[in-house]
Amino acid sequence: MMENIQKVDLTRIKPYGDTLNDGMVQMSFTLPVPYGDEANEAAKQLVEKMGFDDPAVVFSKDLGVGYTYFVIYGKCTHTVDYTSIEVPKVDMEFMDREEVEEYIKKYIKRDVVIVGACTGTDAHTVGIDAIMNMKGFDGNYGLERYKGINAINMGSQVPNEELIAKAVEVKADAILVSQVVTQKDVHIANLTQLVEMMEAEGLRDKMILVCGGPRLDHELAQELGYDAGFGRGSYANHVATFVVKQIVERNLI
C-alpha cells in the first residue's frame, strides 16, 4: 500500500512533520533583545542562517529583562546521508550475569577486581551504585552480586589520586568512573586528568578504564582515552561483559 507515498531516500534524509521531506523542525530559544516585532524578525533571520525555509515565530514572550523567548517552526533544508553513518559503540553481544560468571570461571580463573567511584566534586552516586551495588537497577543486579567479581565502590567526590591509589592497592583489573555533572565541561577536565595521571604512572595499559554517566557515550569516552563509555540505560552486565572480554583480549589475565 505504501508504494503510493514517496519512498524515503536514506542518503538524503530530512526532518518529517506530515509529509516526506517537509523538513519540519520545532525550536525554542531566547535572544538578548527586547520583546517586539524586531525581536521576532531577529529570531527569524537567525533561523534562516541555520538553513531554514519559511521560519514562523509561533510564539514569543517578554522574559522581563529585555530578553525575549521564541517558539519557532521552520523547514530545514539540510539533509544527512544516513547510509554512511557509523557510530562507535561498544559493539558486542552483552552476556547476562550467569554468562559473565561462567566466562570468568572458564577463561580468567580468578577473581576480577573492579574499583569504581564518582570522582572530583561530583556527588551523584546513584549511577555508579546502579552499576556496582548488590541491588543494582531496574531489576538488574549490580557487580557486587557477581560471583568471581570483587567490586569496590568508593562512593562520591573521590579525588583522582585516591582512586588510583586504591586501584593500585587492590590490584584492580578495571576502574569505573562516573561523571554526572557536566556544567562548564567539568567532567571533561576531570576525566582527562585521570587518564593523564594513569599514563604518567605507567598504569594506563595495565588496567581497563571505563567511564559512564547520562551525558557520556562511547565516542566521547574513546576520544578522552578511555576504553569504553556507557550512557543512560546501562546495566552492570554491559560493563561486566566489556571488562571480562577485554581482560582476555588484552591478555591481562
Binding site: 505504501m2 503510493n4 506530515d18 509561533v58 514572550k61 517552526y73
Partner: protein, 518 residues
C-alpha cells in the same frame, strides 16, 4: 448511580421530556419528506457505486434522473425495483445504463408492485446482511483481540493523502491510540455528492470516499492484530451527504461517526429541513451498523463563551439523545459531545470544567461521552498548550469520559505532525494511568463551587429546552435563539434536494434496519 453533584432528578426528567417533545414534533415533519441524499443512499445500499466519465457518482446520476423525471417522491427504491423487474438487471447495471442514456428510469412501464418489492427487498436484505456481518466482525475482533481501556484515545490524521494518513494512523496506533479519525478535506461537507476512489489531495484533511474508508480500515485491521488491540476508525457523517456517508461507513466497517442532528444547520448553513430529514436516515444506518455516533456540541464553544454558554451544550445533548433514540441508536452508541474550552486564565476554571464533565456523566450514564480538547485558547506556546491538554485529560479520567479526543500542543499552529500525536498520547497515558481511580476516590463538597456550577447549568438547560419545546425547533433556530445562530426555514444549502414523499414512497432500509432485524 447516586448523584455526586446533588443534581435534581426532576429537573433532568423535565429537560429530557422537553427534548423528547421537540424531537417528536420534528419527527412528524421528517416522516413526510425525503431528500436526494436519502435516495442516493438507498441507491448505494442497493449496490450502486462508481462514477461516470465526468467523475459524477452514479448514485447522483441515478437520483438526478429520477428527480428530473419527477419521480423522486416515490423514492429511488421504487424506480430501481421497477427497472430490475423490467430489465432483469441489477441496480449497478441499471445505474450504468441510466448514465449512458440507455434507460430512462422514470419512463419504464410500471411493473407489479409485489414483484418490485420482492426484487428490492431481496437485494436490500443482502446489503443489510453484509452490514450485520461487519458488525459481527467488529464484535469478534473486540472479543478476541480486545480493545483499549476507556477513555479511548482518539486522534486525528489530516495529511490530505490517504496513504500518508495510513502511515500516521498506524504510527498513532502503535503509540497507543484507540480511535483514528480521518479528518475530511476543507469544505467537503458542502459537496452534494461523495467523491470516488482513493485520493491524495486535500486541504486540512482527506476526502471521505468509500475507497479511502476501505484502505484505512484495512490498515487499521493490520495494526490492530499487530498490537493486539482493536483500533476504531472514525469519519464525518455530516453535511449534504450525511446518510450516504453513513451507508459507506456501514459497508466498510467504520466504528465511529461524527453525526449531529443540528450541526449542519448551525455551523454549515445547510437548510434545516434537509439536515433533519438526512440525519434521521443516517442515524438509522449508524445505529444498525453498531457505529458510535459523536455529536458536535463542542462547536457551540468555538464561537460562544464556554462559561456563559455551557447550558446550550447540555440542551443540545438532550436533543441529540432524543433524535438518536428515534432512529434506533442505543445509549451505548451515543457519543454525546462536549468540550474543555474555558479560558485557561479563569480562576477556578478547572472546577467549572470538572463540574460540567461530571454533570454530563451523571445525566447520560450509559453514553460513551466524547470529550473535546481545548482549541480556542490554545496558542503558539506549545508548552503551556501541553498543560491545558493535561488538565483536560485529568478531568476525563476523573469523570469517566468515554472517548477522549486528544488535544495537540500545536493546535494553534498546524494539523498534527507525527510527533505531536505521540506527545499527546503520552500525555493522556501518563495522566490516565497516574490518576486512574481518582473518580472513585473523590467527593464534592455539598453546595460548593462544583455542585452549584453543575446545578446552575442544568437549570439553565432545562429552561432553554422548555422554551424550545414551546416554540418548536424550527422557529427557535429561525429566531437565532439556539447557539446564537440564525437560520431561516427555507434558507441555507440543499433545500432543493428536499422532496415531499408520495404516500407510496418506500425505503426498504428504514424498515429492515429499524424493524428489529438485528
Amino acid at each position: 448511580m447516586e448523584s455526586k453533584l446533588n443534581l435534581n432528578p426532576r429537573l433532568i426528567d423535565s429537560a429530557r421530556s422537553a427534548a423528547r417533545n421537540i424531537a417528536e414534533d420534528v419527527q412528524n415533519f421528517i416522516d413526510k419528506n425525503t431528500t436526494v441524499a436519502v435516495e442516493r443512499t438507498v441507491a448505494r445500499l442497493l449496490g450502486v457505486d462508481g462514477v461516470d466519465e465526468i467523475d459524477k457518482p452514479l448514485p447522483n446520476v441515478l437520483v438526478d434522473a429520477i428527480k428530473e423525471g419527477g419521480g423522486l417522491s416515490r423514492g429511488a427504491a421504487f424506480w430501481i425495483g421497477n427497472a430490475m423487474v423490467n430489465t432483469g438487471k441489477n441496480p449497478q447495471e441499471i445505474a450504468e445504463k441510466v448514465s449512458s442514456g440507455q434507460i430512462q428510469i422514470t419512463k419504464l412501464p410500471i411493473a407489479d408492485e409485489n414483484k418490485i418489492m420482492e426484487a428490492v427487498y431481496e437485494t436490500a436484505r443482502k446489503t443489510v446482511e453484509r452490514i450485520k456481518n461487519n458488525r459481527a466482525k467488529r464484535d469478534e475482533y473486540l472479543n478476541t483481540i480486545g480493545e483499549g481501556r476507556k477513555p479511548y484515545l482518539y486522534v486525528i490524521v489530516a495529511t490530505g493523502n490517504i496513504y500518508e494518513d495510513v502511515l500516521q494512523a498506524q504510527a498513532a496506533a502503535k503509540q497507543g491510540a484507540d480511535v483514528i479519525a480521518v479528518i475530511r478535506t476543507t469544505a467537503q461537507s458542502l459537496l452534494d455528492y461523495v467523491p470516488y476512489g482513493p485520493t491524495t489531495e486535500g486541504f486540512g484533511g482527506t476526502y471521505a470516499t468509500q475507497e479511502n474508508f476501505r484502505i484505512m480500515r484495512k490498515a487499521l485491521d493490520e495494526v490492530s492484530l499487530e498490537e493486539g488491540r482493536y483500533i476504531r476508525l472514525c469519519n464525518y457523517c455530516s453535511g449534504l451527504c450525511m446518510p450516504e456517508i453513513a451507508a459507506m461507513g456501514a459497508l466498510e466497517r467504520l466504528d465511529v461517526m461524527l453525526n449531529d442532528a443540528l450541526y449542519g444547520i448551525l455551523f454549515r448553513d445547510i437548510n434545516m429541513q434537509r439536515t433533519l430529514v438526512d440525519q434521521y436516515f443516517s442515524r438509522i444506518i449508524n445505529g444498525y451498523a453498531g457505529i458510535i455516533i459523536n455529536t458536535g456540541e463542542d462547536n457551540y464553544l468555538t464561537t460562544a463563551d464556554a462559561y456563559e454558554e455551557a447550558h446550550t451544550v447540555l440542551a443540545s445533548q438532550f436533543i441529540n439523545e432524543q433524535f438518536a433514540l428515534k432512529a434506533g441508536i442505543p445509549e451505548e452508541q451515543m457519543g454525546l459531545g462536549h468540550a474543555f474550552e474555558m479560558n485557561p486564565m479563569l480562576e477556578n476554571g478547572f472546577l467549572y470544567e470538572l463540574a460540567q464533565a461530571q454533570m454530563a456523566r451523571e445525566i447520560f450514564p450509559k453514553a460513551p461521552l466524547k470529550y473535546m480538547p481545548p482549541t480556542k485558547y490554545m496558542t503558539g506556546n506549545i508548552f503551556r498548550g501541553h498543560l491545558q491538554d493535561a488538565m483536560f485529560n485529568f478531568i476525563s479520567i476523573w469523570t469517566h469520559q468515554g472517548i477522549q479526543l486528544l488535544g495537540m500542543p500545536t493546535e494553534a499552529i498546524h494539523t498534527p505532525h507525527l510527533q505531536d500525536r505521540m506527545l499527546s498520547i503520552e500525555n493522556a497515558q501518563y495522566i490516565f494511568n497516574n490518576a486512574r481511580d481518582i473518580g472513585n476516590e473523590i467527593e464534592y463538597k455539598k453546595d460548593g463551587i462544583i455542585q452549584r456550577r453543575a446545578q446552575d447549568v442544568l437549570a439553565k438547560a432545562e429552561e432553554l429546552l422548555r422554551d424550545i419545546e414551546r416554540e418548536g425547533i424550527f422557529s427557535t433556530i429561525e429566531k437565532g435563539k439556539f447557539g446564537g445562530v440564525k437560520r431561516s426555514f427555507t434558507g441555507g444549502k440543499g433545500l432543493d434536494g428536499v422532496v415531499e414523499k408520495d404516500e407510496k414512497h418506500f425505503n426498504p432500509f428504514v424498515d429492515l434496519m429499524l424493524g428489529g432485524a438485528k
